[in-house]
């Protein structure tokens, strides 16, 4: 009797199994869609954001510019008008509004260059950085203090007072030299330049020693 009942139930087993599978598949359709959940985990984003690793100082950027470091690009996130007024040499203009455009992504989402974002302050640049970081773009940094800091440190460095340590004077002279590179002219520099006639750097001729031709060896 019992066996019969079991047999009856077992006769339906495939249908039942199939029904359960279909139900489960239906459940998967009902799962919420996380399309808006693009990018890295919010917790991770927070820990990235609160560390100050992303900042790069104006001194470092100046040095990179002077050395013509090919491995980095500067991106100006201010609007076009500000960009036309003044920008760092060779900077690319990507206004904040266009940050996520397809064309901008080629500059931001790549791994050959270090990208330095800057604006007048680091307010807009930070915002751009946070969005990029959420999308997982790598090698992006922010110019600490932006162009305002660029002006006060590199373009118009403050002369250290007498009681400051020697490092401050070294830093000042470095920055002053850097500011000359970026176009600022100091009165004392002009005097020197005026009195001096242009001396062309002597051409150095580097001779390359020719390899002696080897006489063919051997043979008979």
């Amino acid at each position: 009797m019992v066996k019969k009942k079991i047999a009856k139930v077992l006769a339906f087993r495939y249908k039942m199994l199939a029904a359960i599978l279909i139900l489960l598949a239906g459940g998967l359709v009902l799962l919420p869609k996380y399309q808006k959940h693009e990018g890295i985990d919010p917790q991770k984003l927070l820990s990235n954001v609160i560390s100050s690793e992303r900042y790069i100082t104006t001194d470092k950027v100046a040095q990179k510019l002077i050395n013509r470091d090919p491995s980095f690009i500067l991106i100006d996130v201010r609007d076009e008008k500000c960009y036309a007024d003044y920008s760092l040499p060779n900077a690319i203009n990507i206004p904040l509004k266009k940050l996520l455009d397809e064309d901008s992504r080629t500059y931001l989402n790549q791994n050959q260059f270090d990208v330095v974002l800057f604006s007048n302050d680091n307010f807009y640049a930070d915002q751009a950085w946070i969005l990029c970081n959420r999308l997982g773009f790598k090698n992006i940094r922010v110019l600490k203090g932006g162009l305002n800091s660029w002006f006060t440190t590199i373009i118009d460095p403050m002369e250290p007072s007498q009681n400051m340590p020697a490092e401050a004077f070294d830093l000042y002279s470095t920055r002053k030299a850097e500011s000359m590179y970026f176009g600022v002219v100091y009165p004392e520099q002009a005097n020197i330049a005026g009195s001096e006639t242009k001396i062309e750097a002597p051409k150095r001729v580097i001779t390359v020693q020719k390899k002696k031709k080897r006489v063919a060896e051997g043979g008979c």
Partner: protein, 202 residues
């Protein structure tokens, strides 16, 4: 007999499969924090500028001030009726509850810190998590003889006109402006990353 063996195996496999799926569904844990707003709409919000308010706008009783500085600085001095939630703690359970509750009661959350730059991270993270009742107070806090001084600050103000400064320095040095150092333009070659086609799943 052989046929029976085969069907038995199939049914065992099917049962195991269903069990695996069930276990998967039961142990599925919803991530604690989920973005509710994608980057595109966040960017639109950022460029609209209506998230910034100044000290003069602070008179609505529906506004709740939140100080994102550390507890130490908060205790040294803070705005009236402000709550202290330090930036690294904004995603902790109890603080999430606070934000959740403020959103439900239709209050406007006003974040402030030492300067607007400092408020950027908590503001952006909370906004992207879907708290759209959030604003940023554009102020600068400093201390004078241990007394908190708060003043409005203009965001992204250009402090100096660098082009004019450089030209003036040339004039002062009686150097012609004409010759301008033009550094060779840098050629930047970028390669488009291929978009990954969405992999399966749902």
């Amino acid at each position: 007999m052989k046929e029976l063996e085969k069907t038995k195996r199939i049914s065992i496999a099917a049962v195991l499969f269903i069990l695996a799926v069930l276990i998967g569904l039961l142990t599925y844990e919803r991530p604690k924090h989920l973005y509710a707003i994608n980057t595109k709409s966040t960017l639109e919000k950022l460029t609209s500028d209506d998230y910034l308010i100044t000290l003069n706008d602070l008179n609505d009783p529906d506004q709740v001030l939140i100080d994102v500085r550390s507890q130490f600085e908060f205790e040294k001095g803070h705005l009236e009726n402000a709550i202290n939630i330090y930036t690294p703690d904004i995603l902790s359970d109890e603080n999430s509850d606070i934000f959740e509750e403020l959103k439900e009661t239709n209050k406007t959350v006003v974040l402030y810190g030492k300067n607007p730059q400092e408020v950027n991270p908590p503001f952006l993270i909370l906004y992207q998590l879907g708290f759209d009742n959030i604003k940023m107070l554009a102020i600068e806090n400093s201390y004078l003889q241990n007394k908190l001084i708060t003043k409005n600050s203009e965001i992204e103000r250009s402090e100096a006109d660098i082009t004019t400064f450089i030209n003036e320095s040339r004039e002062n040095a009686s150097m012609p402006i004409a010759e301008e150092v033009v550094s060779a333009p840098k050629k930047i070659i970028t390669f488009k990353k291929k978009k990954k086609v969405a992999e399966g799943g749902c």
